[in-house]
């Protein structure tokens, strides 16, 4: 069915959208754009920027905040992602079976050969991004999503491929457990859950530095990669 351009519905929607946009504009025009608020001594960001290189050893301040200062929050975030993935599995198993359409046109040789060539490189790049999360832009979430995007390409090109849901669930659970386990190491040694007990290890700016941050980001990367792959494979349907 073609979606008609419904003028009755659009005019109030446009008016409301403009009102909300104007409200945002008036709320934030006073905030000041690009002003150095961090330079104030009593701001939280100032505390983070001043001390995070010494305290965490991470070159990337966003990583230091996400994994070290707000590590507990990140554990909750990973839990939300797990819940979404588990909830999707539950919904999929309750869905009526999709209608079996006729087989799509098989992909050409260029697509299949190209996918086989590119997939390992995408996975390697994803692993690079989450291993270097404390040194460069990126981290566990971004690397995991890159890996899942590579597998999404594989699922699109080879629709017959059955995703190994059990192996994905296993690696996801193990990665989640190791994140919590690293937190408990901090509790046992330093007395604080997720305490970065070996932050002094290595030289700042090198691959082996920032203590437990790279280990946590590797766990997050594997977890997010497995979760996203399972999610995308479930979205395809057929193997609910």
């Amino acid at each position: 069915m073609m979606e008609r351009y419904d003028i009755h519905r659009s005019i109030p929607a446009i008016l409301l959208a403009l009102m909300v946009a104007a409200t945002i504009f008036y709320a934030f025009v006073e905030v000041g754009f690009g002003e150095p608020e961090v330079d104030k001594e009593d701001s939280v960001s100032n505390r983070f920027i001043s001390n995070s290189t010494q305290e965490t050893g991470s070159s990337n301040f966003v990583t230091a905040v996400v994994v070290n200062y707000r590590g507990f929050d990140t554990l909750g975030e990973v839990t939300v992602l797990f819940l979404a993935s588990a909830g999707m599995g539950a919904i999929v198993s309750a869905l009526p079976a999709g209608d079996k359409r006729k087989r799509p046109i098989p992909p050409s040789l260029i697509l299949t050969a190209g996918t086989r060539l590119v997939l390992p490189l995408i996975i390697l790049f994803g692993a690079y991004v989450f291993v270097h999360g404390h040194l460069s832009p990126g981290g566990g979430f971004q690397g995991g999503v890159i890996i899942a995007s590579g597998l999404l390409l594989y699922i699109v090109i080879f629709p017959e491929w059955k995703a190994p849901h059990k192996a994905l669930a296993l690696s996801e659970s193990l990665a989640g457990l190791s994140f919590a386990g690293i937190g408990i190491i901090g509790l046992a040694v330093g007395g604080i859950f997720l305490d970065n007990v070996i932050s002094g290890l290595g030289e700042a700016g090198m691959l082996v530095s920032a203590g437990l941050i790279p280990l946590i980001y590797i766990a997050i990367g594997i977890k997010v990669g497995a979760e996203m792959t399972g999610l995308v494979a479930r979205m395809k349907g057929g193997d609910a």
Binding site: H8, V38, I49, T53, S59, V62, V80, L81, A84, G87
Partner: protein, 129 residues
Amino acid sequence: MEVTELVVYGSILLLAAVGIWGILSRRNLIKLILSLTILETAVNLLLVSVGYISGRSAPIVNGDTGLDGSPIGEIVDPLPQALVLTAIVIGLATTAIALIVAVGYYRSTGTLELKSWSYGLTNEKEVRK
């Protein structure tokens, strides 16, 4: 008002307006979910732009900013960026759930249009066509 400020706030307002308009006026489930993510992008962009400081670089220390000592005065605020990272992940989770509900709607009704959700403004027969 600088050009950067104009461009950034302009994009935020445009994205927010498009997202709200899409949520209110579209009946296709995929378009609804897309509008939701567009609105989410506007909020994320707004949060990141609050932490922006003119003329400063990304919050990563390297050879230029010095590996030790504090780079105060050289980098932008990392805290909003970390918060937005969380917001993006949560947004992804909700989008995934919304999409799988859309798959279920499609499998049980054979369409992605929200037929009965017509606010009484559209004739039911016309929608069924």
